[in-house]
């Protein structure tokens, strides 16, 4: 869209013009980080020297696209139950549960940290139990009930654990946070001792580079009383 390239084509317009009244319709359309970077790439800003924008390829390769087909075209049908809703998909067998949620189902609340089960950012619930979604294949989950952060609560109706994280300032950059919250919600239902050390021990599968640990522990201790 012409008005989009005025805003996003940094090559042509180093300093984007302020939006006119005619652009009101464009402004109302909510732009996410993902859609911004995708459109910027498509508009040709990939040729700029900005490493951030240059890296933003439109999602097309491998199992990333919504109607993903492998190079040989082999996909397998599956119905996945995510947050109480059934999704009928055709998936490349290599698709992890994590990538399926983020790339095929537009549920990017679950984050990819290490992609090797070592950081916990991808933690979500399968049948109520916390797991690392990066090390599970999507096709393994027919018949399972999967809960992601999107299904835990909404901005209007936060889960008590989410509310506790907000109240106790239990995150900084927020990247580990959905994994921390999903992990904590499950942890308080597992055998977990009462002390702060016990909470740390129960949560050690979730790493936080920002070091928000003390506040995470405080949030979990607060919310567990409401479980």
């Amino acid at each position: 869209m012409a008005s989009d390239s005025t805003v996003l084509d940094y090559e042509a317009t180093p300093h984007p013009e302020p939006q006119t009244e005619d652009d009101a319709g464009v402004l109302e359309h909510r732009i996410s980080r993902r859609s911004f970077l995708t459109q910027a790439g498509a508009a040709g800003v990939a040729v700029s020297t900005s490493p951030l924008l240059a890296a933003a390829e439109p999602a097309a390769a491998g199992p990333a696209a919504t109607d993903a087909k492998a190079a040989t075209g082999t996909t397998v049908p599956i119905t996945l139950s995510i947050n109480g809703e059934d999704h009928h998909l055709q998936l490349d067998p290599r698709t992890t549960l994590l990538d399926c949620l983020r790339e095929n189902l537009n549920l990017p609340g679950t984050k990819k940290g290490c992609d090797h089960g070592q950081c916990g950012a991808c933690t979500l619930h399968v049948n109520g139990r916390r797991v690392n979604s990066c090390l599970s294949l999507a096709l393994m989950h027919a018949g399972d009930k999967i809960t992601t952060i999107e299904g835990l609560g909404t901005p209007e109706k936060l889960h008590p654990m989410q509310a506790a994280f907000v109240e106790h300032d239990a995150y900084q950059c927020g990247y580990c946070t959905s994994g921390q919250i999903m992990s904590a919600v499950a942890a308080v239902k597992e055998p977990m001792g009462p002390s702060d050390d016990d909470v740390k021990h129960a949560m050690y599968g979730n790493i936080c580079r920002c070091g928000a640990y003390p506040n995470i522990v405080a949030a979990v201790q607060h919310a567990r009383k409401q479980a």
Binding site: P93, L135, L137
Partner: protein, 334 residues
């Protein structure tokens, strides 16, 4: 990750038949079973594993923990590590197994990982896990980058000129001290293998890690009945307090009879190319008086044949002290 066909096995026979199509059950297998996926999917992402077919065995009826006649305990191959660790019978009668499981991985990984999968857990050697480096385990004859490279986390017992990779599992060390047996369903039927025979030393064929043949599927692990009055302990020493593999660990099972050690079983982790049952330590302990002199003599015997490398010589002393501490914990009245 390479492309592969994915199927879900609904019967044991189906799974065995599918597995039998591979020419090997060892590294390079073209058919792999997936249960938790925590090791297989990890290695597939690294292209260390590249099966053509992945068979999901999660629907098979192998997820029970049940008493068997004679008082032993049969653990289904699909029992999740977390469920096994918290099983009341295991926690009470086989404490070393519960402690070992809870010392490993993370809560999320333990919720996914299974008994069978943990038995087959592969080494964490950085050169094995990086296909850019030569590795005799991945590619026999290609060389071992670890011998003169970063070998701090690698083995000092059971090594060969071809391979010094450690077996990283905590569960396996506990099962070894408990003298577990492994039940396997194969193309020729069912068989039972004592855990002491299940794992292979690397020798000149480090690509062969277990006795499994194509089509073999582990169905259960069975523990013998606990001896009355036995105490057991798993002690794991590592760089961090949690979420890290062992530098050295010890699984000890023992009874104290009037100040004398009886029915002692010792297995070491973090130091062996397979879970390391130490007959040398057991001989130095059986019938001896409880005390630090006895324990230290046993530790010396256990590590006598240790072959340290450039970065892991510290493991010799660390492993000894680990065993002494574990024995102390196991024989001290709570």
């Amino acid at each position: 990750m390479n492309e592969f066909h994915f199927n879900r096995a609904t019967t044991l026979a189906q799974a065995v038949q599918a597995g039998a199509k591979s020419s090997t059950a060892q590294l390079g297998a073209t058919v792999r079973f997936v249960a938790g996926g925590t090791n297989l999917v990890d290695l597939m992402k690294l292209q260390v594993e590249h099966p053509e077919q992945v068979v999901d065995i999660n629907s098979l009826p192998l997820n029970k923990v049940e008493r068997v006649s004679g008082g032993g305990l049969r653990i289904g191959a699909l029992v999740r590590n977390s469920d096994l660790a918290h099983d009341p019978i295991v926690a009470r009668d086989y404490a070393v197994l519960s402690q070992a499981l809870l010392s490993g991985a993370s809560p999320q990984l333990r919720n996914m990982a299974t008994t069978g999968g943990n038995l087959l857990q592969r080494t964490r050697c950085v050169y094995f896990r990086d296909i850019a480096h030569e590795c005799n385990k991945r590619n026999p004859g290609s060389g071992c980058a670890a011998m003169e490279g970063h070998n701090r986390m690698l083995a000092i017992l059971g090594t060969s000129d071809s391979c010094i990779a450690t077996n990283p599992s905590d569960m396996n060390v506990a099962l070894t001290a408990l003298e577990a047996t492994v039940q396997i369903q194969g193309v020729k039927g069912q068989r039972t293998v004592p855990i002491s025979e299940f794992f292979l030393l690397p020798g000149s064929t480090p690509n062969r890690e277990t006795v499994l043949e194509p089509g073999d599927l582990i169905t259960s692990v069975t523990l013998p009945a606990p001896s009355p009055g036995t105490r057991s302990v798993y002690l794991k020493l590592r760089d961090r307090e949690a979420y890290e593999f062992a530098l050295a660990s010890a699984a000890v099972v023992a009874t104290v009879d009037g100040g004398t050690l009886r029915h002692v079983r010792v297995a070491l982790g973090g130091v062996g190319t397979k879970p390391w049952r130490s007959a040398e330590a057991e001989q130095a302990l059986e019938g001896k008086p409880v005390g630090s002199a006895t324990f230290r003599a046993a530790a010396e015997a256990a590590l006598r044949d240790a072959k340290p490398r450039s970065e892991n010589a510290f493991k010799v002393e660390l492993s000894k002290r680990c065993l002494v501490r574990a024995l102390t914990l196991a024989t001290t009245q709570a």
